[in-house]
Symmetry: C2
Subunit: 238 residues, 2 copies
């Protein structure tokens, strides 16, 4: 399976800044990458277009979009990302879990990535979570990633029969947003292709005021770089 | 949230014998049950019809079918349950993982159940796996269930913030098929509503020869009961 050929990896790719950087890191480490995105009825559908652009630009072997219709489960109904709740703007960080939290999202994404990985014979999964700027999402913590890796090796034929050991890589988990951006820039990531905004305008411009935009802009400031993205009303110019 | 009202539970319901019994057990324990089924392109679509009948007959509060299109991920392509591989008939048990294994299926189902549970405020998830007659599926073992429960409490806002503790119940995990059937019969499960066959005829008759049919028929024999299901060519009469 190895024998000179690149090892395969599955990379969760949202089209955002973090997952694009995670894909660049996976490529740098020599993996042939299958990028995996989800169409789960999210408001910010621009992400999926961005994910396709990023996958191609960063040399992914394949890019797959899995349709996951959770509306029937009523399940994701409490989240501002899939529901009609207003996305909070310029909010103060209160330390709690934000309204944009989607119940068990990373658990679900990693579970599907695991099934895909097992089917193609990959043992490495990359996810672009980070714990420092994680804005209170519980499924972005190192303990969560470790628990999933353990589960992966118990719950799969490949893991259970010892054909290989699944590893869940979260290369950005200890980085600040600024460090992520510096890492990506050093690896040649074109951040103009990525998309972060929770609430873009009809023509796809980032709002500059939601949690995701604010983290992104602060990250570019921290990295001493300029965000190449276009923002609504020039909100990105600082 | 409790205060006299039934506690909520999410019950994974395939329409088969095991999950129907798990639903009956959850009801017996006093839970108001949301039954959750998956349309994942399985060959045995009769299961979904059966799941609806079972949910109604056993008094589930709701029955939701989540569409999960994994064909785009190419991911489940190695399995005889979703792909064009022939379902093995009258096979000898070789102790290995059978070709009907779907990569990471229970991990994916539990992950979606967890998201749904968190969204509706449930902390209890029931799954009808059993380890004794599990036919070599790694994601039916107690260690797997425990690992998922741990993950659930790390990867959710409700678990992380301590609003409650997620419990994954696998009430059948230590039972033989005969014990499961006796348990279900004692709780009034009408097994004529359930469906087990991996390869039913066009008019929905069970084949009597695939792994699922053979386990089921052996279970009824062990329980000293008669399977009320109709089989092709009278295969169920023994």
């Amino acid at each position: 399976m190895s024998g000179g050929a690149d090892r395969l990896a599955v990379v969760l790719l949202s089209g955002g800044l973090d997952s694009a950087t995670a894909l660049a890191v996976a490529r740098e480490r020599g993996f042939a990458c299958h990028a995996l995105s989800f169409d789960y009825g999210q408001r910010h559908r621009f992400e999926l277009v961005a994910a396709g652009r990023v996958a191609e630009a960063l040399g992914a072997v394949k890019h797959r979009v899995v349709k996951l219709d959770l509306s029937a489960a009523g399940g994701f109904g409490r989240s501002a990302l899939t529901d009609r709740i207003d996305v909070p703007k310029d909010r103060a960080d209160d330390g709690g879990v934000p309204v944009t939290y989607v119940p068990a999202r990373n658990t679900i994404f990693l579970a599907v990535a695991l099934g895909y990985a097992e089917a193609i014979g990959a043992f490495d999964i990359f996810i672009g979570v980070n714990a420092i700027d994680y804005s209170g999402y519980p499924d972005c913590r190192p303990e969560f990633i470790e628990a999933f890796e353990r589960l992966a090796n118990l719950g799969t034929a490949a893991g259970a029969e010892g054909h290989g050991r699944f590893a869940v890589h979260a290369p950005l988990i200890g980085m600040t947003k600024g460090q992520i951006i510096r890492t990506g820039l050093a690896l040649g990531v074109d951040y103009s292709l990525t998309h972060s905004c929770y609430d873009p305008s009809a023509d796809g411009l980032a709002c500059g005021h939601c949690d995701a935009c604010r983290l992104r802009l602060a990250g570019f400031a921290e990295a001493g770089a300029t965000d190449p993205l276009a923002y609504e009303n020039g909100a990105g110019k600082r």
